[in-house]
Point group: C2
Amino acid sequence: MSQTAGILEQAEQHCRERGSRMTEKRKRVLSGLVDSDKALSAYELIDYCKEQFGENIPAMSIYRILAFLEEEGLVHKLNLANKYVACAHICCDHSHGVPQFLICGGCSKVKEITVNPAMISELKKSAEQAGFTMMSQQLEMDCLCDECMGSAA
Amino acid sequence: MSQTAGILEQAEQHCRERGSRMTEKRKRVLSGLVDSDKALSAYELIDYCKEQFGENIPAMSIYRILAFLEEEGLVHKLNLANKYVACAHICCDHSHGVPQFLICGGCSKVKEITVNPAMISELKKSAEQAGFTMMSQQLEMDCLCDECMGSAA
DNA sequence: GCAGTCGCTGCTATGTTGTAACATCACTGA
DNA sequence: TCAGTGATGTTACAACATAGCAGCGACTGC
């Protein structure tokens, strides 16, 4: 069984436990994200489904499916890039905190990391002093991966 | 002299020193951002120029002007919201570090803060360990301001 | 002053991301 | 089997952004 198939299997299991449905289309969208180590836009996922499965999924459906998958904790939306990535922890049984992301501006490769929780709470404190409440601890950082860094030099 | 006019004066001075031109249109766009404590989208700035000066500036020009102002360090682009804000430090003569932003998801109000430099360097280190180089230390945080927080409750 | 140049702006078209509103399809359970 | 609910389709459109080319206007050097 391929890596991707294993992850999809896990995701399906996850949905069963939560009483939600992992439909064929949802699996296809998720598989696109799992197969790719890059973040993909909704429209890139449309292309992926067309090429890979010969299926034309309208934009509206892709967005609904992405919203569903995000709700289930299977994908993350990257607001900085307006793209989407599969969660790096679909296969972990342990629950995990809010992730932070390193996003390559060159090739959209994404690394999901977990920064020091003390740092996040310090950020939260700074925000509160300024009269703001942080709604999401998901930090997104504009980076270049080593590969793109090399070819840019 | 109004607060805004003073800031515009400073900005003009800044451009003179750098050998770049602060044209009328550029001043109008900048004044829109300075007048507002919120982040504005390019299209909101078009509306502003129309209402305030009766001048129709096409989107293309607004984007070029925003790019120029960003180049000059007079405005910041908030990628999280696809909006723009005037730099909070146009009037400071001291140069300042890379800013971080608290963005209210309710009303687009923005607070520019400077977080502990040690935190930023810790982030940078984490990134490098993961094979990424941070290209911008500009963190943008999804928040609610106290006011919106109150009305949401 | 005048020609040449370069930077700024205008115009048109188009690409990309995302959503509203309403219709239809398909699975589930009584 | 049939009603109800959730998933998907369709159409239209809003918001953000850029490409490419044309024209205008302000400086420079002669």
